[in-house]
Symmetry: C2
Subunit: 478 residues, 2 copies
């Protein structure tokens, strides 16, 4: 067990991030450049994310399926924007079974092409629509600069691919799944997010338009945390997927796709983590509670462990995930520190003196507060406390975001605030790609999204002074 | 919706298998040679398999993790037998990000090498052992002849990789996981299996020895359905993984690995399917019950649907997965046939006459039997019926296996029975690779395993007459 030191967050956010991952044993770099090994503690978070999302996908009528890892190179070329976006970053299999392949195979960077090739056989009539499919799997994008969870050559994700009879149906689905992502972020990750539309420059390669949820990290930078694309008829046309309408005509099918990845583990770390390490929101923690028994003499051990056995017996039926750390070779203080850096939401301390008073001590990971609680009905106290921690984390992140959100109408001020504070800068923008690009080049800030819940408001583009009807969000982003 | 015809099983087992998969919409061939698309109906079975196995893995102390898809080619060469076994069938990435790679990457055919490379950093002392890890993922083996589910270039599986302090601990783990596979096959798949040890010729490339569970399919051929390997210190030595013992010395670590794949969906089809299609054991069926309401006039529809709404309301709390097929465009007879070929274990028919008697009709998929049941307490009747179907399927498969199991002591008879019936042939074998190989060359039958539960018995090798201490199982296999 490595006694990993964690750099202070305020000192060097980037090193802090790396240290937190090492200290909690979440992931390692792999011997293959840019690839990552997701260790059990990291993977357990991903499993919880999968469970929550998968249930939401099924509740909204989706089914899971699995399409091949390999895509014939020619498929990628069928949709012009798509190939332009992805061709530079694909990994290519040229040899297999000891021979050179006739046609190289690309390792999927995303599955639109292979899936729409299948949909051609699956979709004949309006009765086959909507087709609502999701896939859990791995994808590969050859990235130059990689960071654990945030940007890795291979990553795990889910990708939804749906087919619809009309533009409107597809739009409804695109927004429905954006809403699922928002609910997932808010309710499970305790992460407030802003729903919005991406600019044309930032949309998915091959999409008609793209929506995303954008979150603020602990250094006030933005992280795109899930995207939902309206693909129009682009892929249906590229793969010739038509359906017979109720009226007997043939039309091209409308499509959506949407994805969320292991990047969200990085978001979770950067949104909630502190100088002691990761803080896992209770709903994504497999171990929600760690019980640390405190004793010196053997007869104390026995009495304490008996009490622990009693109250933890009621934890499982109450749906509380817990561990009892009764290792003899470590001191209680060492254990406190060890579980803190692993981000376990709640610690229960119990020693001989607590027994006398029929109580335990509860220590919250999110704010370090301690309080006594009766052993009577402890499972209810713990369950309530976990809910409190979950909502406190959300509230803290929301307040942090508000604090680092600025309405800016002057480009000089824009630069000042960006350098002094970062954060989300709500500004007017004329809608031109030139202004967008020049701002990016000059400031490294990009338009994160055109927020959906913002009121229309007349104004002037922060760069060129041109007419604008609503504010957009600029930020430096991961 | 394709009106797929299913070839009679007795007529052409192989075509029957392909037809069943098409009729139930379980899988398609992909545009990449040998790859498969697992359609929602097929993937739903895999999800149920995953849930059952994952719970058993966790109950036995294992954690999930994720290792990279790509393995540096040099890693494969570190274990001599391993590379010999796998090198001929790997897919190789030579280019990525628009450039030629310095070292080619192989797409994992199995993950021992990349995992043991990591274990070197994770294991220092006896306190770090045992290390009990499982991975869910995809692997690629370039196969010449492929069949949906049974043998595909890419397949989904789980692979367990554990590290232990002693040979005995590793042996215990190897057998424990073999037992998990056996229980999974018997209790969830309703598939009786024989646990046994593989001969040296048939063991995993790089293993000290291999165990497997072997099942009999509906054409009396064998299917290897899960393997558990004792790897000795082979991979620890290849990747220099040592640990400090309690006594302060350094020793190489002992290893196991074990895997089970989407091949089991093929096993399920071939073990239980009939001329009407697949038969899904209730414990692996997402939709366990389909309700087909029967009506002609609109007022009948209303009354029937009201009753259906009432009794299905109690299904969800009872943990019964169900669907109500109230599509107006199809006749009841068409629906019966449609759900039969999808293998739904139980059908409930309910029409106006049933309402008068406060009853429904239950129709079993496994044997076609129909019976009336009261709407009162129907959830209990259905739950019991599903359990009955589950155990009947197991019993039928077991009886089938017994019927096609032969004790043979004469090589001429061996050939006769093999050609006339196939099945499992329990024979004496001297233990030599030469006899094993000659029998394989002459008969296409291989030694499936040296069964663990067989009594020792003196005898003479069926080929050479040499001394033998126990019978082994010969069979033609998939």
């Amino acid at each position: 067990m490595a006694e990993a030191k964690i750099t202070k967050r305020s000192e060097d956010f980037s090193r802090w991030y790396t240290d937190v991952i090492a200290a909690a044993e979440l992931a390692d770099y792999a011997p293959v450049k840019g690839c990552m090994i997701i260790r059990p503690n990291g993977y357990a978070i991903w499993e919880k994310m999968q469970q929550a999302l998968d249930a939401m996908f099924k509740d909204t009528g989706h089914q899971n399926a699995y399409f091949p890892l390999f895509i014939p190179e020619s498929f990628l070329h069928k949709e012009a924007e798509h190939v332009e976006g992805f061709a530079p970053e694909v990994a290519v299999v040229t040899h297999a079974g000891g021979e050179k392949l006739e046609e190289p195979l690309i390792v999927r960077p995303t599955s639109e092409t292979i899936i729409w090739h299948s949909y051609r056989n699956w979709i004949q009539s309006y009765r086959d629509l909507p087709l609502l499919i999701n896939q859990w799997g791995n994808v590969v994008r050859w990235e130059m600069r990689t960071r654990l969870f945030l940007r890795t050559t291979e990553f795990l994700w889910q990708e939804g691919h749906t087919a619809h009879a009309t533009y409107e149906d597809a739009e409804e689905e695109t927004l429905r799944m954006l809403g699922v992502y928002r609910r997932f972020a808010e309710e499970h990750m305790a992460l407030p997010v802003i729903e919005g539309r991406k600019t044309d420059r930032e949309k998915f390669a091959g999409a008609h338009h793209t929506y995303s949820i954008e979150a603020m990290m602990g250094d006030a930078k933005a992280l795109q945390s899930g995207t939902s694309h309206h693909l129009g008829q682009n892929f249906a046309k590229a793969f010739d997927v038509t359906f017979q309408t109720q009226e007997g005509t043939r039309e091209f099918v409308y499509a959506t796709s949407w994805g969320l990845s292991t990047r969200m583990i990085g978001a979770l770390i950067m949104a909630h983590g502190d100088d002691n390490g990761i803080v896992i929101p209770p709903r994504l923690a497999t171990t929600q509670v760690v019980v640390v028994p405190i004793f010196r003499k053997p007869e104390e051990r026995e009495r304490v462990m008996e009490a622990v056995g009693k109250f933890t017996l009621r934890f499982k039926p109450a749906g509380i995930g817990f561990k009892v750390d009764d290792r003899d070779q470590y001191s209680p203080g060492w254990k406190f520190n060890d579980w803190e850096k692993r981000g376990i939401p709640l610690r229960i301390e119990v020693g001989p003196k607590d027994l006398e008073r029929n109580q335990v001590v509860l220590a919250r990971r999110d704010n370090g507060q301690k309080q006594n609680a009766s052993q009577e009905g402890l499972e209810r106290t713990v369950r309530d406390m976990l809910e409190t921690i979950q909502s406190s984390l959300y509230e803290r992140a929301r307040e942090f975001r508000e604090k680092h959100t600025h309405r800016v109408d002057d480009y000089k001020k824009f630069l000042e605030i960006l350098d002094a504070d970062g954060g989300f800068l709500w500004c007017h923008w004329c809608g031109s790609g030139e202004c967008e690009e020049r701002i990016k080049d000059e400031t490294k800030a990009t338009i994160r999204c055109i927020p959906m819940k913002a009121e229309p408001e007349e104004g002037k583009c922060i760069l060129c002074g041109g007419r604008s009807e609503r504010r957009v969000i600029f930020a430096r982003a991961y």
